[in-house]
């Protein structure tokens, strides 16, 4: 590798500071990036990694500090200037137009807007060469809307390379990939570094940081908490730098599986848009068990969550509850059957941002006494319920009448958790329950889920974080293209073995793959 001490400095951040209202997202951050190195930017969710990169790329404007690329200061707030200086960014949420082709997305904004024609011929040749050089296979005329997540990421990287980027920033690029796809991405990054590019790799996953980077910068609460050469450190020390304390893994006491509370037999559901439906799955949720659902996002997790959560019905097959359920299947029916739901997106589906905590607390229960009688709301009772959740679940907030929009993600999630658990559920559907939370909130949420399991509830834990699944689950299923793997009891599969299932192998071949 060409990088390291003495190599040319390609990027210099100096004293970057950024506030969002009361939150200090970046506090006087300075560092340098050298030619031919991969620097990992490590930190918890909310530590300020993405904000810092968005400032570097010109999406945000810093309150103070400067960015220099190849010795020249970048004017703040102009992605165009960053692109021209050779900075390319692969965003965590892809910035692609689904209604256009791969080539069109790559070409967007590359030439003069007023030129009368698109020069697709030359572009096609250049994209083909880049694809070959960096191992980024994707069809240039495919509609982006029809591509898989992994392919879309390749398009994002091609977009940057097409503009002759010398510095690549990747924001949590592995969050949506299988372990195998991650390996392929690392291969691409190594090729890039060999060709003299420099890479900033943003992640909160320690093993990936150890595998790909030559240097690690750790961000904590918006500050640069440390900088080490990867060779001089290990996972434990990085973890400590990242959260400021030793991470303790959740403890799961051995427990015999209880009676089945929910059983799916050969269930299929309709396909929706780009997401697959369920393709004839069998699943049993048992009392006192956490069942983990691993898989790359977009493989039918949403379909399963919607089915159990009451938003969808089986197109064929059966869903049996204990005690049996009769009548229409709806969110209300699911709630009545003792199913508590923690939705994937707490902002979009979990809460009404402009409602108060009180109004959000009774969102699932307002129709029944004591919160309403004969159509008349009893706001005092509702507020009492909100206060109870605030106290029991340690929701930090100005009070029950504050708008929930003002709360941090962790406190919002605690309110949702409290709302769900206070009903004394028999089944808990936890869909990405800790995504985007800081370590304190993660520990709290995991503790509550384990406590519910120990009380005898059946928990379905859906997560894209394989480490989380493996730490918390009594048994694990892998979902791929709407199909479900057999149940793997705790401790019987390694991450690599599960990764093979997550990539779709093993479903047809059977035993030889795993």
């Amino acid at each position: 590798m060409a990088g390291g001490e003495g190599a040319e400095v390609v990027l210099r951040l100096d004293g970057i500071t950024k506030r969002f209202g009361a939150l200090l997202a970046n506090d006087a951050i300075s560092f340098e990036l050298r030619k031919g190195e991969v620097v990992a930017l490590l930190g918890e969710n909310g530590a300020g990694k993405t904000t810092l990169m968005n400032i570097l790329f010109g999406h945000y404007t810093a309150d103070a500090g400067t960015v220099e690329v190849f010795g020249r200061r970048l004017p703040p707030g102009h992605p165009r200037a960053a692109l021209a200086a050779g900075v390319g960014m692969v965003h965590q949420h892809f910035t692609l137009a689904d209604n256009m082709t791969v080539l069109e997305n790559i070409l967007l904004g590359t030439g003069s807007l007023l030129s009368p024609r698109l020069d697709t011929g030359a572009a096609r040749a250049k994209v083909a060469k880049l694809s070959a050089d960096f191992g980024l296979a994707v069809h240039p005329d495919a509609r982006v809307g029809a591509l898989s997540v992994g392919e879309r990421q390749r398009v994002e990287i091609l977009k940057a390379l097409y503009r002759d980027a010398r510095i690549l920033i990747l924001d949590e690029p592995t969050a949506v990939l299988t372990p195998q796809e991650t390996a392929a991405l690392f291969e691409t990054l190594r090729k890039a570094v060999e060709l003299g590019l420099s890479v900033i790799f943003i992640s909160h996953k320690l093993n990936e940081v150890m595998a790909i980077s030559s240097r690690v910068l750790v961000l904590r609460h918006g500050r640069l908490a440390g900088e080490v050469a990867t060779a001089d450190t290990d996972r434990h020390r990085l973890a400590e730098m990242m959260v400021g304390a030793e991470i303790t893994a959740p403890k799961l006491a051995e427990r015999d599986p209880g009676a089945p509370l929910l059983t799916l037999r050969r269930v299929t559901t309709a396909r929706r848009g780009n997401a697959p439906g369920l393709a004839g799955i069998d699943l049993t949720l048992r009392a006192g068990q956490i069942t983990g659902l691993a898989g790359v996002s977009g493989n039918g997790q949403a379909a399963l969550a919607d089915l159990i959560g009451g938003l969808d019905e089986p197109a064929s097959g059966t869903m049996d509850l204990t005690p049996p359920h009769h009548g229409d299947w709806s969110p209300r029916a699911a709630l009545a059957a003792g199913i508590a739901r923690i939705p994937e997106d707490r902002h979009r589906t979990g809460t009404v941002a402009d409602f108060s905590l009180t109004e959000n607390a009774v969102l699932e229960s307002y129709e029944a006494a004591p919160y309403s009688r004969k159509g008349w709301m009893d706001w005092a009772a509702a507020e009492g319920f909100a206060r109870k959740i605030i106290d029991t679940y340690d929701v930090r907030c100005p009070g029950p009448s504050a708008r929930i929009r003002l709360l941090s993600g962790g406190n919002m999630q605690k309110l949702i958790l409290g709302r769900a658990l206070e009903a004394g559920p028999k089944i808990i559907l936890a869909n990405q329950p800790v995504r985007g939370l800081d370590i304190g909130a993660v520990t709290f949420v995991h503790g509550q889920l384990i406590a519910a399991r120990d009380r005898g509830a059946a928990v379905l834990l859906i997560s894209e974080d394989l480490d989380e699944i493996m730490a918390l689950s009594d048994s694990i299923h892998v979902i791929y293209e709407g199909r479900l793997s057999p149940a793997f009891p705790r401790g019987t599969k390694t991450p690599a073995e599960l990764g093979i299932w997550m990539a779709g192998q093993g479903f047809d071949g059977g035993a030889d793959a795993a």
Binding site: T61, G309, P343, R348, G350, V352, D354, L363, W376
Partner: protein, 349 residues
Amino acid sequence: MRLEPIANPTALRRFGLPATALALTVLVASLLALLAGANPFATLGLILKGAAGSKFALLETLSRATPLIFTGLAVAVAFRAKLWNIGAEAQLYAGAIVTVLLGTGALPLPSALLLPVIALAAMLAGALVLLGPVLLKTRLGVDEVVTTLLFNFIMLLFVSYLLEGPMKDPMGMGWPKSPALEKAARLPRIVDGLRLHWGFALAILAAIAVWVIQTRTTLGYETRAVGLNAEAARFAGIPVGRVMVKTALLSGGLAALAGFSEVAGLKGNLTLDLSPGFGYTGIIVAMLALLNPLGVVLSALFVAGVFVGADSMSRAAGVPTYIADILTATALLTMVLALRLTRARIRWR
């Protein structure tokens, strides 16, 4: 340029910006007066005087505000649920048609019984008119903005057909108008000899009722949840489609009361010019009131004052009455901008 949210706006922001919006509106009025060759101060004075300068003027403003309170409430109720009902005009005429249908001798009832029956029937008709577009929205995903707008044109043609055909007044000397209501079907005047009728009191009552529904009932809670975040509402088990339909029935019913009150309280019969766009003006009334039902009463009085004042000013100063439409539109646009800026500041980089 971009906007940065402000968590706790200062009092200066919260009151200064709306005041600036009003000042801008007044400025536009002055410019228009100048354009028309009139003295701006005299013009503004005449508008004020015409709107509230005498007992007669004031009662005229209250009378004009009556249908605007109803249509304003109709729009406010619907917009709360993000149901874009732009068809209050059609619902108003539906109410008016039913009022004529039942109020010209079809029901031999005493006034105290007849009026409530007519009002309820009118509400039902208005509700049904909005039901179509709403079902198309909830069942098929057809955008209700365009369908409700188009229904306004269809309804006016239907009224035109009725007034030239089955509902034509045989004594009307060929004019397209309906027969007059019987005495028992007329809303009495509050003050004898002046145009203010009990429809105004009904409008105030309606505003209070809507306020109670929105703040105290499960329907109000559901409506707000659906309007603010339909996806979260659906996830939580709120029957979004059914809430939309209920909201629509209420909204259509309220708009129809405007038609009922105009026919039974003011005009006494149905003509094609019953509403000079009360349904559309209701949108402005509702938006200026921030969709608050009690605020609707105030903003309806303001808008009615501008229209009544401009009418009287026009006769005296010769500035076209269309100044009133320009002013209300300006007030609307500047006010929504001002309210946006109370919650966000502009950053130029």
